[in-house]
């Protein structure tokens, strides 16, 4: 029991690393995917659509296995487990984020583009100064949902052998014939998501000055 807490904290650190790196890459990648999804080029938009359908239509656990073991079958070698986890999570979450971004951009009234055009703003200026700020406000609740899910999804990293919080807790449970480590892990997830929720509540309040 004395050794349990440090073990769980190390596991938590791995979970947090997966969480942070996934967000770091998938948030911008989602924008690229959304841009492709909204492309006027039919080929681009349908290819991107297929990618999104696969990412959202198959289990993340399967995608992780695919990302890690796929290269073995194809090239006889793969990246290390942790890298595979990050790649798997990033391409999965980018697809979800892309759809949230697209929904946000398309929910902005066309009048905002028209007013900007008539005032002489360039498309880039309109996008960065008129559209994006309003999109950010609109997508915060949906992003909050997704990020909370991510905290819990990090537990899936164990399927390709990365010892994150839940894996560590499970092993400890098995060794000690006790459910205590798993309950504590649950508490850890709960606390992490409390922080995530607070962050998004705070963002919502900060942007509450207009509607």
């Amino acid at each position: 029991m004395r050794n349990l807490l440090p073990l769980l904290l190390v596991g938590t650190l791995t979970s947090l690393k997966i969480f942070a790196l996934t967000l770091l890459f998938s948030i911008p990648l989602g924008a690229v995917v959304a841009r492709g999804r909204m492309s006027k080029n039919r080929l681009v938009s349908s290819l991107v659509n297929i990618y999104i359908m696969i990412m959202r239509g198959t289990p993340l656990i399967l995608q992780l296995l695919f990302v890690y073991f796929g290269p073995y079958y194809l090239f006889g070698a793969s990246y290390d487990r942790f890298t595979a986890v990050i790649i798997g999570f990033v391409i999965n979450y980018a697809a979800y984020f892309a759809e949230i971004y697209r929904g946000g951009v398309q929910s902005i009234p066309v009048g905002q583009w028209e007013a900007s055009l008539v005032l002489g703003f360039s498309k880039a200026h309109t996008f960065t100064h008129v559209i994006v700020p309003q999109v950010v406000k609109r997508i915060i609740p949906a992003m909050g949902n997704e990020v909370i899910t991510l905290v819990k999804d990090t537990a899936l990293a164990q399927t390709i052998g990365v010892a994150e919080l839940f894996r560590v807790a499970q092993s400890a449970s098995a060794r000690q014939f006790s459910t205590t480590p798993i309950v504590i892990a649950g508490l850890f997830y709960f606390i992490m998501n409390g922080a995530v929720s607070r962050f998004f509540d705070h963002m919502e309040k900060r942007l509450d000055y207009y509607h």
Binding site: E114, A115, V118, L119, G120, F121, Y210
Partner: protein, 252 residues
């Protein structure tokens, strides 16, 4: 001097002719009202002038610059630089304001001055404050659009357009989203601009107002100009049957 020349302009939406050959000119200092039933093409005409829609035929000239012309057979638009220059000659006030909700009133009015005209921030703020004072918006510069009444929002949008010193100010049913009291408030603002000899095109359903401020009135129906003339003549003695019917309904 003619500022806008429109010759035989056509516009189709999926085979449906919305403008079927519109020609008119607008002279400096003139106030032109465009009236007509819903779906007659009035707003589309204004949107073609302000480049929110592309025309399918005809010719549009603004301040001696050709914006689009079908002389070669198909409609050719001018190069991007000319189009931008033309765009800035025309201001547009929308029916539903289209203010930027995330910007304060002041920033709504200064944003384009700074980023499009390249004015310094101090100068832009100065100009914005002068216009706001004229429009009775002095107290509101730090407010956000959602905290303003419809009438105030529309005044901000007029101020936003005026801040770029357009040669012509276009209004697309500027009072259609407002209740009768606020309508009066906006019509007064437009009237004041008319007094200052601002060149304006006003698409409106307010007949009394059109009669009051216009130098000339165009009555449109089904994509065509049915009748055109000074307001006294057009409202008191319309010559076309279609105009009579339309105006009769309003007078009832």
């Amino acid at each position: 001097m003619s500022i806008i020349t429109v010759e035989n302009v056509t516009k189709n939406f999926d085979e449906l002719g919305v403008l079927k050959g519109i020609s008119f000119t607008l002279n400096e200092g003139e106030v032109l009202s465009i009236i007509g039933p819903s779906g007659s093409g009035k707003s589309t005409l204004l949107r073609c002038l302000t480049q929110l829609e592309r025309i399918d035929g005809g010719r549009i000239e603004v301040c001696s610059m050709t914006m689009a012309s079908d002389e070669g057979g198909t409609v050719q638009y001018a190069d991007a630089r000319t189009l931008k220059e033309i765009r800035l000659k025309l201001g547009l006030v929308f029916q539903n304001f289209n203010l930027f909700p995330h910007m304060s009133v002041l920033r709504n009015i200064t944003e384009a001055q700074i980023n499009v005209l390249g004015r310094s921030k101090a100068e832009a703020v100065d100009i914005a404050r002068q216009i706001m004072a004229k429009m009775g918006l002095e107290e509101k510069e730090n407010a956000y659009p959602c905290h303003l009444s419809g009438g105030q929002q529309q005044r901000v949008s007029i101020a936003r357009a005026l801040a770029l010193n357009p040669t012509v100010l276009c209004f697309d049913e500027p009072t259609s989203a407002l209740d009768p009291e606020l309508t009066v408030e906006i019509l007064k603002v437009i009237k004041d601009l008319a007094k200052e000899k601002m060149t304006m095109i006003v698409v409106t359903h307010e007949m009394a107002f059109a009669r009051d401020i216009s130098d000339r009135v165009i009555f449109m129906d089904e994509g065509l100009i049915v009748e055109e003339g000074p307001p006294d003549r057009l409202f008191n003695a319309p010559t076309m049957e279609r105009t009579k019917r339309f105006l009769n309904r309003y007078n009832q």
